[in-house]
């Protein structure tokens, strides 16, 4: 019985959104500073800039859309911008502003936003 619980715990800890290895708590703080202007305080794509944008920012709470992206794709979109993943130039490249570790943290938080 104890063994089963231990295995269940292990599975719970390693499965699902835990794929993104970054620090999701730090990711949340970074998201507030760098992302909410367009993606919204709630991550729903309705940021304060969205009303005037020609292409609407991704709704990060959209489980279907977000599950279709790998962590690597999300990392690339943040680091090198929308253009690098065949999306809008309105999504800038943040690789010159944020460390890879911080981008990992953002990816981890995106997984929380969409899929928890």
């Amino acid at each position: 019985m104890k063994g089963t619980i231990a295995i269940a715990l292990l599975v719970a800890l390693t499965a699902g959104p835990a794929l993104a290895a970054g620090d999701a708590r730090r990711g949340k703080a970074l998201y507030q500073v760098y992302c909410t202007q367009c993606h919204g305080l709630e991550g729903n794509g309705k940021g304060v800039n969205a009303a005037t944008m020609a292409v609407q920012p991704r709704d990060h709470t959209d489980r279907g859309e977000m599950s279709a992206r790998t962590d690597e794709e999300l990392f690339l979109a943040i680091q090198q911008g929308g253009k690098a993943v065949n999306k809008s130039v309105l999504m800038p490249a943040w690789g010159g502003n944020l460390s890879n570790e911080d981008i990992d943290a953002l990816v981890a938080y995106l997984r929380e936003l969409c899929c928890r």
Partner: protein, 230 residues
């Protein structure tokens, strides 16, 4: 005799008071500006998350950034340059229709007297830690066709996601840019576009990988639209 004393006393008072006419810029900056603006370079590397605590743009390189005449005028009659404040998430609220600016949370910038404004501007204009970076900047403003410039600013480079290039056009999270050419030194504009992180390590202006020609094109557009403003 009494009259003579009075004249002397009046003269002495006038002489003592004279330095006051030129207000003490350093003291004013320390007293009136430093609670919201960084007037010293950061002592240690800054954490991007700390950007959330910023209340005003850093001023420790103000002399490499601003045009003195604009500073003197603006400090006496400040207008809002950042429609959603210095840290937009603090001044924005979520609504079912989307996030909107909450004007009640936006502070008014203090107004200075003409004397104070001149003294503060003089002090700020002497803060020039990045003279070498400015000297290395080769940008020279050139005329540009407004329509081409606008298309580049918007469609091609996406600056309009965050910045307004006219009072009724563009995003609101970044500073408006239709008066940038009046506020800022042309070399600063080019240098900041090329590498905003070198100026302000925790800026939310993305460091894009632009060629000198691309930087010049954007800077030319900002210089051109500023001329369109009253």
């Amino acid at each position: 005799m009494v009259r003579g004393h009075l004249v002397c006393a009046a003269l002495a008072i006038a002489l003592l008071a004279a330095p006051d006419a030129g207000a003490d810029g350093a003291a004013l900056v320390a007293e009136r500006c430093a609670s919201c603006h960084a007037i010293e370079p950061p002592a240690a590397p800054q954490d991007p998350v700390a950007r959330a605590e910023r209340k005003g743009p850093p001023l420790h390189y103000a002399g490499n950034k601003f045009q003195r005449d604009w500073l003197v005028a603006w400090l006496q009659a400040p207008t809002r340059i950042r429609p959603a404040g210095v840290h937009p998430p603090t001044h924005v609220k979520a609504t079912p229709q989307g996030d909107v600016i909450d004007p009640a949370t936006l502070p008014e910038h203090p107004k200075l007297s003409a004397d104070e404004a001149r003294a503060v501007a003089d002090h700020l204009m002497a803060l020039r830690p990045f003279d070498e970076r400015i000297a290395a900047q080769s940008y020279q403003p050139q005329p540009i066709a407004l329509r081409m410039g606008q298309m580049n600013f918007g469609k091609f480079k996406g600056c309009d996601a965050c910045h307004r290039d006219a009072p009724d056009r563009g995003g609101v999270s970044g500073p408006e840019l239709y008066t940038a050419g009046k506020r800022l030194q042309p070399a600063f504009i080019a240098s900041f576009i090329a590498d905003p992180v070198a100026w302000d390590p925790i800026t939310v202006m993305p460091k894009a990988d632009l060629s000198d020609a691309e930087v010049a094109k954007l800077a030319n557009y900002l210089m051109a639209i500023a001329k369109e403003q009253p």
